[in-house]
């Protein structure tokens, strides 16, 4: 093996030496390929594993934490939910439609591999600026392609896409982020694990045939982009959601026979990953014969077959003698199921072609002994320099700034996106996109519902990775609490640049530590997730973008939605007006859209206070005291108030704020721990707020027409609802067109 071949496989000389010592000899070419994908950043987490251990992963409801295909939480009534988030960033840049589609396919397989039927999908998306003269056209094409790809796969498969988030920054120009979250449900006793067991048991391949697509996809996802990356289009997989639907139905049905011992999907690193991981988890070996692998192309080498990432394939281990029970189900669904090998007791992953061994590697060492790096990290860059801390003078008034912010791609309605998704199929969607702070899916069998929210803020994390990550956790939990759900567990997708650069590694470490603290504080253990590194193009890294997905539980009932419903209700700002100095104003949507600046630090988060606000809102919602509720986020109070006003009823509000803050800071600061509600029972709401030790000023009243913000009786702005609605709902489509 020449050093060039080793380097081509993105393995370092040290890593190569480790391979030689594990094998006790030089690897064959096929073995080198197998090691290179299993030890890629994408599959091995070699740069992040050390720090991921800092995350809390246990809790009273956690049935399965990290290490399986998805985390599992007990939701009571004999049922569990399985959920996880994954990235498909690199493929989606190269081929947006198929990249995003197969991202959905991959995470759905992770869910039904666990025995759970997927019942919801959400997406966290980041793109470059749509109106940039140089890159806008490409960014619009990527956005359209990604959304169409997600729609294509999810709609056909039959899983509702119920929410998510979508933001735009120049740093995502050459590196969009496509993070897909999926959640499934099953009975507690029906959970399946990706573990092989029982020497002599047959290893069965099911689903689509293997082709040359996606070879080295995992390695591609573990490198920076260069000009040559566009040549990697053949590395992107092609998805078939109909096949995936059949595969899911057949797998879930086959699991019910009791003849299946273990099952794993073939995702990243395909046949390689599924065989060695199942063997490693079960402490056994697996021997397969490549001649038996269903192939859709002729003349594939062992190297290609083992590394192919063809989609919609599964590997399962059945009980010897009961194969026919499994085959019968797959025949019913018109799928191929072929015995390609056998479980052995020697702990080796052995691959044969025409009866000749072409690879023989200890499964445990391959799957679990990947190199582990404590990569050097500096103190992170934190907060922009003092010179930038002073915002330039006020360019526009609150009156003009609000419509401008509502029309910005970050704050505007994402209807153009979510109307392309079937968000209702399976008739469990209690609250779909755009109506509530968190999506809500009911579990028909138990009378309980699951609320879910995704959040990440790259700007905040760029200014302070630690605080930014905490803010994302707090925001997700607040979203859940605002609909009355108790947050219970989390998943995360860590999107960062090149970890070999100490300043990037520092961002990763800081973000993980901040996230760990916040998740511990809110008692939302992380049950799984994904790390996506090397998100850089031509040496330009993205903002550090950890994305949180948190789920909560609540009783099934009509949801508490965002819009004001009737005039004459008290408008209460739970958590109070909050504080914000100029340093903490530099990461806001206002600073970005109106001042075109980024400076200082993200909004200050007081975890204790945040928790009290969330307890209070849950109590208010449970008591049925609120008629509408919406948490303050991007764009602060003014944007939140507008979002409450542009609902179908067209009910607005007139508020008057008693504060010393500068008008634009008062209207647009993004201090957390604040929720805007309308209520017919301000007294009762105040009593609950007082019990929790938080402010809850009545700032105004809902009105039939228009929206008005005053500061100590001085009008900062007053708007027609129709005007606000027009800019808010029409903006995204006008950018895309």
């Amino acid at each position: 093996m020449t050093p060039e071949m080793v380097a081509q496989h993105q393995l370092s000389p040290d890593e190569y030496q480790k391979i030689v010592s594990i094998l006790g000899r030089e690897p064959s070419y096929t073995e080198l390929g197998i090691f290179s994908v299993m030890w890629s950043e994408h599959c091995s987490y070699k740069s992040s594993r050390l720090h991921l251990k800092k995350l809390p992963t246990t809790g009273k409801l956690v049935v399965q934490g990290p290490g399986e295909n998805a985390g599992i939480i007990d939701i009571g009534g004999g049922y569990v939910i399985a959920f996880k988030i994954e990235s498909h960033n690199h493929p989606s840049f190269i081929e947006p439609f198929q990249g995003a589609a197969t991202g959905v396919g991959g995470i759905l397989r992770d869910i039904f591999t666990m025995g759970a039927r997927p019942i919801a999908v959400m997406d966290s998306l980041r793109f470059g600026r749509l109106d940039d003269p140089a890159t806008g056209a490409r960014n619009r094409r990527i956005l359209s392609g990604v959304v169409a790809g997600i729609a294509h796969y999810g709609n056909c498969f039959g899983v509702p896409t119920v929410g998510g988030e979508c933001l735009f920054e120049p740093c995502y120009d050459g590196n969009p982020l496509i993070n897909v979250f999926a959640l499934g449900v099953c009975r507690k006793e029906d959970v399946f694990y990706a573990k092989a067991a029982g020497a002599g048991n047959p290893v069965i391949y099911v689903g689509a045939r293997t082709g040359r697509d996606g070879i080295h996809g995992a390695s591609m996802a573990s490198a920076e982009f260069t000009e040559e990356s566009k040549q990697k289009r053949p590395n992107v997989h092609v998805g078939d959601p109909f096949m995936e639907k059949l595969l899911m139905e057949a797998c879930l049905e086959a699991m019910q026979t009791g003849a299946i011992v273990g099952i794993q999907d073939m995702g990243a690193a395909g046949l390689t990953c599924s065989t060695c991981e199942m063997g490693s988890r079960g402490g056994v070996g697996i021997e397969i014969e490549l001649d038996r692998v269903p192939q859709r192309e002729t003349g594939m080498t062992p190297y290609e077959t083992m590394l192919s990432e063809s989609q919609e394939r599964m590997l399962l281990v059945a009980e010897k003698g009961r194969e026919e029970e499994v085959y019968r189900v797959f025949r019913k669904w018109g799928l191929e199921a072929v015995e390609i090998g056998v479980v052995t007791s020697d702990g080796k992953m052995r691959v044969k072609e025409h009866g000749v061994t072409v690879a023989e590697i200890p499964a445990r060492e391959l799957a679990d002994e990947a190199p582990l790096y404590d990569r050097p990290h500096t103190k992170p860059f934190c907060g922009a320099g003092a010179s930038a801390c002073q915002p330039p003078g006020l360019p526009i008034t609150v009156q003009d700034a609000l419509p401008a912010l509502l029309a910005s791609p970050d704050s505007c309605s994402k209807r153009w996106i979510w109307e392309q998704y079937d968000y209702q199929v399976r008739t469990n969607t209690i609250a779909g996109p755009g109506r509530t702070d968190a999506a809500i899916i009911r579990i028909k069998e138990t009378g309980e519902s699951v609320a879910m929210s995704l959040d990440g803020n790259g700007r905040y994390c760029y200014l302070s990775p630690r605080e930014g990550a905490q803010l994302a956790v707090a925001e997700c939990c607040r979203n859940l609490s605002t609909v009355g759900a108790e947050p219970v567990a989390a998943t995360n997708c860590l999107n960062f640049g090149n970890p070999e650069r100490p300043e990037i590694m520092a961002q990763l470490v800081e973000a993980i530590e901040g996230m760990a603290d916040a998740c511990r504080f809110f008692d939302t253990p992380i049950t799984g997730g994904n790390v996506s590194l090397y998100n850089e193009t031509l040496g330009e890294g993205i903002y550090p973008t950890p994305v949180m997905g948190i789920v909560g539980l609540l009783k099934t009932a009509a949801p508490l939605t965002i819009p004001f419903k009737s005039p004459g209700r008290a408008v209460v700002l739970l958590g109070g007006i909050g504080v914000c100095d100029e340093t903490r104003f530099g990461g806001t949507g206002y600073a970005k859209e109106i001042l075109k600046q980024l400076w200082g630090l993200p909004p200050a988060l007081d975890l204790e206070r945040e928790k009290r606000v969330q307890s209070a809102i849950r109590e208010i919602v449970a008591a049925g005291l609120a008629e509408s509720a919406h948490d303050l986020a991007d764009g602060g109070l003014a944007v939140a108030l507008a979002e409450c006003s542009v609902g179908p009823a067209g009910i607005g509000a007139a508020i008057d704020l008693d504060s010393d803050l500068r008008p634009e800071v008062l209207a647009f600061h993004e201090g957390p721990s604040r929720i805007l509600i309308s209520t017919a029972y301000p007294g009762k709401v105040a009593a609950i707020a007082e019990q929790h030790g938080i402010g809850a000023p009545v700032v105004g009243v809902t009105i039939e027409k228009g929206m008005e913000i005053r500061q100590r009786a001085m009008t900062l702005g007053s708007w027609e609802i129709a005007t606000l609605r027009a800019v808010y709902t029409g903006a995204l489509e006008s950018y895309v067109r």
Partner: protein
Amino acid sequence: MKFGVIVFPGSNCDHDAFYAVGTNLGQPVEFIWHDSSTLGAVDAVILPGGFAYGDYLRCGAIAKFSPVMKAVRRFANDGGLVLGVCNGFQILVEAGLLPGALIRNRGLKFICREVRLRVETTDSPFTSAARKLQILRLPIAHGEGCYFADERTLDELEAEDRIAFRYHGNPNGSLRDIAGILSRERNVMGMMPHPERATEPLMGSSDGLTVFQSMLRAGVRV
């Protein structure tokens, strides 16, 4: 009254139709697998939404050849009630049980949203429980729901009072705002909006029950 829900491998609203009829309408219901050549003892058949065989060709183009569609055709010819929703509607037109075609939405994008429908006739076993010109709120979720037919067919549908629903605010470019139509004998109806997704308050609307209640009424009368 016993309902049967046809299950093609790519049907994905089959469970929703089953739930709407079984739980919210409170009637017996069973699934009928696509390779079955008989329907069993059912009084009405629902072809649910989804992507019958992937629909990579034309929606419903392959489904019309499935064994169960022979049975559905016989059932319809004998006067049985057949409701096709979304993909079910597409299959019914491909199979020739209803006239016209469903082509890509005018905007070329999949659309999922609540629409308002106007009941155009109450003279059918699917709409008798409604009031004429009543407005129903039902969701749509389709990429190929633009109803298309030649002028003569459209005139004929109107002349024979066979347009069951029209969009009140046309979302997909359907000719003459057509959202649902009836067969000449009025025992087969296809519609793009999803009545099964609007059968209890938690779904956001219960207006879809009207369709199933009408069928129930017709079934009991027989």
